[in-house]
Amino acid sequence: MNQPSLLRAILALLRRDLLLAFRARSELLNPLIFFALVVSLFPLATSPEPGVLRLLAPGIIWVAALLATLLSLDQLFRSDHDDGSLEQLVLSPHPLPLLVLAKIFAHWLVTGLPLVLVAPLLGAMLNLPAPALLTLASGLLLGTPILSAIGAIGAALTVRLRRGGMLLSLLILPLYVPVLVFAAAAVEASAAGLPARGQLYLIASLMLFSLSFAPMAIAAALRVSVD
């Protein structure tokens, strides 16, 4: 007979979400494909001129990463809500914010991390210099957890709505703006040969802030949503 343990519960939740994501591989790749498609369409639509592309690259890549994340958010709590497993999470003896943190981490591993890994490749395609590629990857590494965490607040608030996608975007996009501004600025600075530490530190602090407080907001929103 096992007693319930918080660590075991968190690991089990993480493993379950990753296993489910892995079993639905085609959906798993959707945000990544979207990301790569949007970025590679830009040179065709604007100009193949290396100088122009380098100028636009930080903005293009970050906007695409942001929209790719947004695309995946609607599903974050939707299936748990529809099949009743969300009720079981809420009824567990474990603190809901910590369980939510495990779900955010699983979401980031599945959508955020692939973006981080692919972005330097796309950056090189858009003619970003090497130091800027490093800044781009670091910025995404620090920034994508914010996108997952803040996005999860919106997903938790709209999980009861059948067509919550539009509302979710309207709720969440304004909150993504600071990340977008600083992260793109960091890459631009790097591309111009300037230090980008300041912007990256700022994104790091935003990440810590959102990972500390978003889980509580999400837990509260989920309790309202199962009500």
């Binding site: 519960a9 089990a12 939740l13 379950r16 009743g84 497993s85 009720e87 079981q88 009824l91 003896p93």
Partner: protein
């Protein structure tokens, strides 16, 4: 297994009110369930049976009134109450992409307990334990969901239409499990449109 639940366990609700939209479903509702008792909530569709069960489980807050487990309000002892409770709702709580065993393994990792094989065997779905849940029939899914009740002893079972989609033998099996649970000093609060053949049954009518 010789489990005996504490014979002093009580679930009590005082002056509950339930509002859905601007419709008052019930008001000033009192109920009490003691060890070894089954309370069957009855009433027409839309009379608030599921809402009442969700309140008793602690999923939704009553508009008014208070629910007590062993004389302490449940919202003041969320973790303790969670361990004293099994809630099986309308939705099965199964992940359709996982097999029966994987689903129950998750429940055990999450809530403690054990005996997954025995539970699936008892519910008669052991033969389908390694199939993804979406390939199971509605009745088999319901049986797998109800197998949760057997993984971990909890004195209070809150069951929302547990017989839905079950065949004749499934209903008999479930009735047998409920009887055994009551004999051990457990308690059951449930909704069902068919009578449950146990001697310790009391009924509560909503929407009258």
């Amino acid at each position: 297994m010789a489990i005996r639940y504490d014979s002093h366990n009580t679930l009590r609700a005082e002056k509950l009110a339930c509002l859905r939209g601007d419709l008052l479903l019930f008001d000033e509702l009192n109920l009490q369930v003691g060890a070894g008792e089954l309370l069957q909530i009855e009433g027409p569709n839309g009379s608030g049976k599921t809402s009442l069960l969700r309140m008793l489980a602690g999923l939704s807050l009553p508009e008014d009134g208070e629910i007590y487990w062993n004389d302490v309000p449940i919202r003041r002892q969320r973790a303790e109450y969670a361990l004293a409770l099994h809630y099986v709702g309308h939705q099965t709580g199964l992940k359709s992409g996982l097999t029966g065993t994987e689903n129950l393994r998750f429940v055990v990792d999450f809530m403690g307990g054990g005996g997954i094989g025995v539970a699936l065997e008892t519910m008669g779905v052991a033969a389908h334990a390694e199939q993804p849940a979406y390939t199971l029939s509605a009745g088999q899914q319901r049986r797998t969901a109800l197998a949760r009740l057997l993984l971990r002893p909890a004195p209070l079972w809150i069951l929302d239409e547990p017989f839905t989609a079950l065949d004749h033998t499934g209903v008999e099996l479930m009735t047998e499990l409920i009887k055994r649970h009551l004999d051990r000093g457990g308690m059951v609060v449930m909704t069902s449109h068919q009578p449950v053949e146990v001697p310790q049954r009391r009924r509560l009518k909503l929407g009258t």
